[in-house]
Every structure is written in structure tokens, then in C-alpha cells.
């Protein structure tokens, strides 16, 4: 009982302002033009988008999501989200999406809605929500848009069509936090790709469109899930890059991938704010070269053993425990801000070589799915890992989006050519064509 009253204290107090949830705490302090902490979800419709109708839809839908209609403010000890009386405006899309939102200005929303021809995209700052929350918002927006366009999107199902219950705004991390548990391993510094970074804000997106049945068939033939299969391909590609750079095994670094886990499938929460944690399948090339089958086995086992309530509660305990610590709470924000980038690098990005986030198969109501052709999910980049991979399935297509902040596309090339070699056809799209700088696998040494 004492625990539940504590949780209530931490959760939203009223609709005028919200505490940041546990995952969001770190993001405002580490945000920069290079670490934008943004992700993007988009739906490509069959018809060209009408901006006026989209604006009207956005103005309506944002009322149902009061916890997204906020701006970031500085408190003395923590950042917080304050109700933003203004209404968000839609924007035209750009070549380099997911640019920084400058939330420090304290007047802007922490998300954008963009349109381009037949595409509606939402770009969320991770301070607000994770992929599941973002996708719910996008579904609601497109559903309302289609209705206003005079289409019949069908029965909404789980898509919000009115004001959401208060539980959608809960900080689920705190609700399911258990008193001190053993801490997870600290982890080792992982291998990172090297390369000259592009201008801040510039981003190279490489999209691979794959027939769903072909890739599912391949994953099934190897007796693994689709996520495990893709993670293994990604790790294998990174292994090849490291092998080309570092010849001696003892000098190699572990290769680990951050794979976000949707905690709503483990804990009974309906929150639309952040509620995900990572598992990290890892290989240690110091022990020798791993065959693809060995990597697949490791990934499969890690995903099974780490994505259960008991294993994940260790990470939850570490993260939320830190936030609840009285000493941490009493440190003024000015000092916390200095510490956060260090924690982010040391405990997050340094430990992994990349991120692969799979939103899974997106299902839409029948009427709506007739109007939506494609769904994309793109992760933001950061200067340490340089490349992030967002995966999302819709109808008969799997769309894999790599977003990178260097011109080098070796990871993308090795990833997709592996699929090609397995007989899985891949179609490539890019946001910008590179005409100079021939491909080179000659990296600088990573040590």
C-alpha cells in the first residue's frame, strides 16, 4: 500500500504539468544538434495529403492527448512538462528529418507533424513517449484525417477517437518499480563504427523494403523470431566491419546491439508515455569469429532469457532506483545537467554498437488499411553509434530504415547484401544520393 501511495505521488498530479517519466529524465540534458533524441513514424497514404484538413485533425487529436500538448520547462531539481496552450502547426517535410526541437526554448511542442505529398509523419522527442505511444498518436491522427476527408476508415478498434483515460499518462516505470533488486551487469565498452560526422542535423536515411513472407519464411526456417533474425544479421555485419579494421582478436571489442523491449507486453500498463527498456544481445569477438548460426543462437537465447518480468525488473530497479534516491533528487538541475551526458555515454551508448528497434507488425482497421500504403519507423542518430535501425511491418512489406550521421553506408550495405545472399529481395530508397566518396571499408582502428 505504501508503495502505491508513493507511485501516486510520482505520477501526474494534475493536467497542468507532468513529471518526466524515468526514461525521459536523461534526454533534455543530453540533447544537442547531434543527439536529437527524436524518432519518426510516418504513414504513406494513397492520396495526396490535404494540409488544411491535416491541420484541423491535428488540432482535434491533440486535445485527446493532453500529455503530448506540453512544453519542456526547467524546475529547480528536475525538468517538467507544462501544458502548452498553443496549438501545434503542421510543417512541410524536409530532406533531413528529425532535427532537434530546441525544447529548451520552453515554448515549443516536443513533437512535429510533417507532410510530404501523400505522407503524414510525426516526429517525437523521446522525452514525450516511445514508439508505441508515437504510433498510437499517428494512428489517431490519420484515422481522424481520413474521416474528415470523407473516407470510411472503419471501426477504430484500439485507436483513440476521444479523450484518453488518465492511465494513458501514467509513469509506468514508477508503478512497477520494486524495492532494491540486484543491479544488472555494468557491461563493457562495445565496438563503435568510426567515421567523419555530417553537419549537425544532417541525416542519411537508407530504407530497405522487403517482402514480409520471404523474410518471415527465412526466420522461421532458422527457428527464430523476426527480431532475433534481424539483430543477428546486424551483429554479423558489424562483426565483418570490425574484422576488417582490427586483425588481432584480443584487441577487438564486444559487439552489442540495443534492442528496445515494449514493457507493455510484460506489465499490464496502458500508458502512452515512455515504457520501454533495452536488452542487449552481445558477442565477444575476442573469442574468435562467430558464424551466423552462432550469432543467431546467442541472440535468440538473450531475447528469450532477458525479456521476462524478472530479468527486466533488474534494469527497472536500477533506473528508477537512481531517480528515487534522495541524494540524486536533492541535486539541483544545473548540476544534474552536467552529470547526465556522462551517464548517458558511460551507461548507454558506450555499451552498445548500435540500436535495432522493431515496432512489429502494425495492424490498422480494414477501412483505414485500404487508404494507407506504407508505414515507416526511423530512429534518430547519435555521434557514438552513428547508425540506428528502425523496423516496422505493415501488410505484406517489412520496412527497415537505417538512419546514419556519416556518409559511409557499410553497415547498411553489409546488412542488406546478407539478406540478398539468403534470397530475400530488397528494394533500396534513400533521402539523398551520394555521388562522390567511393565506398571504402578501410576504417581507422577502433582502439
Amino acid at each position: 500500500m505504501a508503495e502505491s501511495s508513493k507511485n501516486k505521488n510520482i505520477s501526474t498530479d494534475n493536467k497542468d504539468w507532468y513529471r518526466l517519466d524515468n526514461a525521459a529524465l536523461i534526454y533534455p540534458s543530453i540533447q544537442s544538434d547531434r543527439i536529437t533524441t527524436m524518432f519518426r513514424l510516418s504513414m504513406t497514404l494513397k492520396e495526396k495529403v490535404d494540409p488544411k484538413i491535416l491541420q484541423a485533425s491535428l488540432e482535434e487529436v491533440i486535445k485527446w492527448f493532453p500529455f503530448y500538448r506540453v512544453r519542456l520547462k526547467k524546475g529547480f531539481f528536475w525538468y517538467y512538462l507544462e501544458h502548452n496552450p498553443a496549438l501545434p502547426r503542421i510543417e512541410r517535410d524536409v530532406r533531413y528529418p528529425m532535427g532537434r526541437l530546441h525544447p529548451n526554448l520552453g515554448t515549443r511542442f516536443l513533437f512535429r507533424v510533417r507532410y510530404w505529398q501523400s505522407r503524414i509523419a510525426v516526429e517525437f522527442c523521446h522525452v514525450l513517449t516511445d514508439g508505441t505511444g508515437g504510433m498510437t498518436f499517428l494512428k489517431a491522427l490519420v484515422y481522424d484525417y481520413l474521416k474528415r476527408k470523407g473516407k470510411d476508415p472503419g471501426d477504430p478498434g484500439d485507436i483513440p477517437v476521444g479523450e484518453l483515460p488518465e492511465e494513458a499518462a501514467e509513469d509506468a516505470y514508477n508503478r512497477f518499480y520494486k524495492n532494491p533488486l540486484p543491479l544488472p551487469d555494468k557491461g563493457n565498452k562495445a565496438f563503435h563504427i568510426k567515421g567523419k560526422l555530417l553537419h549537425p542535423g544532417a541525416i542519411m536515411i537508407t530504407t530497405g523494403i522487403i517482402p514480409m513472407d520471404a523474410i518471415i519464411k527465412e526466420a522461421k526456417s532458422r527457428n527464430v523470431s523476426l527480431t532475433a533474425f534481424l539483430v543477428a544479421v546486424y551483429i554479423d555485419a558489424l562483426q565483418e566491419i570490425q574484422d576488417s579494421l582490427v586483425s588481432q582478436n584480443p584487441k577487438k571489442r564486444p559487439i552489442a546491439l540495443q534492442v528496445p523491449v515494449n514493457m507493455r507486453s510484460i506489465y499490464p500498463s496502458k500508458t502512452l508515455r515512455n515504457f520501454s527498456l533495452f536488452v542487449m544481445p552481445e558477442i565477444d569477438p575476442r573469442l574468435g569469429k562467430y558464424s551466423f548460426e552462432e550469432i543467431l543462437q546467442i541472440v535468440k537465447e538473450t531475447l528469450i532469457t532477458e525479456t521476462n518480468e524478472k530479468a527486466i525488473s533488474k534494469s527497472l530497479a536500477r533506473n528508477v532506483g537512481g531517480q528515487r534516491n534522495w541524494i540524486v533528487r536533492a541535486i539541483p538541475l544545473v548540476f544534474k545537467k552536467l552529470l547526465m551526458p556522462f551517464l548517458y555515454t558511460r551507461m548507454g551508448e558506450n555499451l552498445c554498437s548500435g540500436t535495432l528497434s522493431n515496432l512489429g507488425l502494425i495492424r490498422l482497421p480494414e477501412g483505414m488499411s485500404k487508404e494507407v500504403e506504407r508505414i515507416d519507423f526511423i530512429l534518430g542518430t547519435n555521434p557514438i553509434n552513428k547508425t540506428g535501425c528502425g523496423v516496422c511491418g505493415y501488410r505484406d512489406k517489412l520496412v527497415i530504415n537505417f538512419a546514419g550521421n556519416t556518409r559511409d553506408k557499410s553497415v547498411e550495405r553489409l546488412f542488406f547484401t546478407r539478406l540478398i545472399k539468403m534470397g530475400i529481395p530488397v528494394k533500396i530508397e534513400v533521402n539523398e544520393e551520394i555521388k562522390k566518396e567511393p565506398l571504402s571499408l578501410k576504417y581507422r582502428r577502433d582502439n
Partner: protein, 293 residues
């Protein structure tokens, strides 16, 4: 449908090189790229702009700080022990401080835009000159002139950064307003001989008018360079004649032209020739054929 011969992936319509391995696409789609087929907009977000990357490293700044600090302290100590106060050492000290700001600022504040760095540098130089003047006796003696010139330089640099080249008209207006203000200030500072209103302002307005005409012509007839060049030549000849008249009015007090017909006689026929060529395709084709480079 185009495929990369090296990677084996199918490629987006219109690509000339494989985005993964940079291999040239031999069977690229001939047809134009349909707007609807491009996966992303071409619009570049405003926040993507070059940052200062020529900034020296921090190690260099520390070294430079040390190197600058040594002569600074030495001059200070010598001056202080000899005179018991700061006299001549003020000049080397402020110069060294300025040098330090120019070197260290871009490095210590990496991530600042070139505009911010330039602003800081210009401001530092202006403050340095003003402080020298202030220290050497009756103020202001001479420093207001270079300080104003630096301010004007800043306006020239700042306008394109603030309004971007897309709003070139606004940039030009700011430039001319800045120049007018500078000339007015010079007129007042040099004893108020009242040359600004009868001479400076009309010449400036004429120049501004000519520049606006050229810009407008360049914008409206982008694919007709001869038309733009002809208009520019015509505008320049009008400007030259105008300047001649204004100068004569100021100096002699008479509404006459003296030297301007000579350059105008070169520019105006040139402009007429370009207009004719632009509107006579066969003549244009002939000239291209004869004079192609």
C-alpha cells in the same frame, strides 16, 4: 526497375548510383522522376547549417594562452615595478587580450555558428580600438571612425546570416540602410559639412535602385541570362548618369552631365544588343555556334 549489379538490391527510381556501394547504375530509368515517386522532400531544414570546424583544438588554445600570458605578465611586472602603476603596458596587454579572444573564442565555444564567432571578433576589435583611444587621452579622438566602419562591416555580414539569401531584397535593404546610417554619421562626425543629403543619400538611393532592378530582373528571368545582363547594363548606365548629375549639382550647382555619356555610350548599345539577341532565337543560335567556348 533498376538493380545494383554489385549488391543485388533493387533501387529507387531515378538513382544514378547505388546508395550502398556507389556503383553506377547502368540501366537507370530514362524517364523523368515523378514528384510522387521521390521518398523524401528536397527541402533542407534551417537547423542544418555548417558549424565552425576550422576552430583550433583545445590543446592549441591552452598553449596559446600560456604563450600569450608570459609576455603579458612580463610587461605588466616591468611597467608596474618601474612606474608603480600601469602606463605603457596597457597597449601590449590589450593587444594580447584581443589576440587571445580571436584565437580562443572559436575553440572554447565550438558549436557556435560562424556568425556568432564573427560577431564576437568584430565586437572585440571595436572595443579594443575604443579602449586604446580612451586610454590615450581625450575621447573620442579617432576611434569612432574605425568602430563605425566595423559596425558597418558587421551589418554587411549579419544581414545574409539573419535573413538568408532567400530574402535577398531584405538583405539589400539592410545593407543600404546601414551604409546610409554610416555616411550620415560620418557627415556629422566630420563637422557637419552637409554633404550627406545633397550628395551621399542621392548616390546611395540611385545605387540601391539599380541593384534592386538587377535583382528583380535576375529573379523574373532566371533562364534568360542575356535579358538580365542587358537590364543590368541599362541600369548601370542610368546609375552612372544619375551619379554624374548629382555630383555636378553638388559641386557646381548646375543640372548638367559631363563624363557619364562616355560609359553610357558603351553600356546602352551593349544592353540593346543583348535584348535583340534574347528575342531573336536564330541570331542567338548563330552566335552560340560561332562563339561557343
Amino acid at each position: 526497375m533498376a538493380y545494383c549489379v554489385r549488391c543485388g538490391v533493387e533501387l529507387q527510381k531515378g538513382l544514378k548510383y547505388c546508395p550502398l556501394c556507389n556503383t553506377e547504375v547502368i540501366l537507370s530509368d530514362e524517364e523523368c522522376i515523378d514528384e510522387g515517386m521521390r521518398p523524401f522532400s528536397d527541402r533542407i531544414p534551417r537547423n542544418v547549417r555548417p558549424r565552425v570546424n576550422l576552430a583550433p583544438s583545445r590543446a592549441f588554445v591552452f598553449l596559446a594562452t600560456f604563450i600569450i600570458l608570459v609576455p603579458l605578465l612580463v610587461t605588466l611586472i616591468i611597467d608596474f615595478t618601474a612606474n608603480r602603476t600601469i602606463t605603457w603596458s596597457f597597449y601590449p596587454i590589450t593587444s594580447l587580450a584581443l589576440l587571445w579572444i580571436l584565437i580562443a573564442y572559436p575553440s572554447l565555444l565550438k558549436g557556435h555558428t560562424p556568425f556568432q564567432v564573427i560577431t564576437m571578433d568584430i565586437l572585440s576589435i571595436a572595443v579594443f580600438l575604443l579602449s586604446l583611444d580612451l586610454y590615450s587621452g581625450s575621447f573620442p579622438q579617432w576611434s569612432q571612425y574605425p568602430a563605425l566602419a566595423l559596425l558597418l562591416l558587421w551589418v554587411y555580414i549579419a544581414a545574409p546570416f539573419l535573413f538568408t539569401w532567400k530574402r535577398i531584397y531584405l538583405v539589400v535593404i539592410v545593407w543600404f540602410s546601414g551604409t546610409a546610417a554610416f555616411l550620415y554619421a560620418l557627415d556629422k562626425l566630420t563637422g557637419g559639412k552637409d554633404w550627406f543629403y545633397p550628395l551621399g543619400l542621392p548616390v546611395l538611393l540611385l545605387t540601391g535602385f539599380a541593384v534592386m532592378i538587377i535583382l528583380l530582373s535576375a529573379k523574373t528571368s532566371k533562364d534568360k541570362p542575356l535579358l538580365t545582363t542587358g537590364t543590368a547594363a541599362f541600369a548601370i548606365s542610368v546609375l552612372i548618369i544619375g551619379i554624374d548629375i548629382v555630383c555636378n549639382l553638388y559641386v557646381k550647382g548646375s543640372f548638367t552631365v559631363t563624363w557619364s555619356p562616355i560609359p553610357a555610350a558603351v553600356f546602352i548599345p551593349g544592353a540593346i544588343f543583348m535584348f535583340i539577341v534574347e528575342y531573336r532565337p536564330e541570331l542567338k543560335a548563330y552566335l552560340i555556334k560561332k562563339f561557343h567556348l
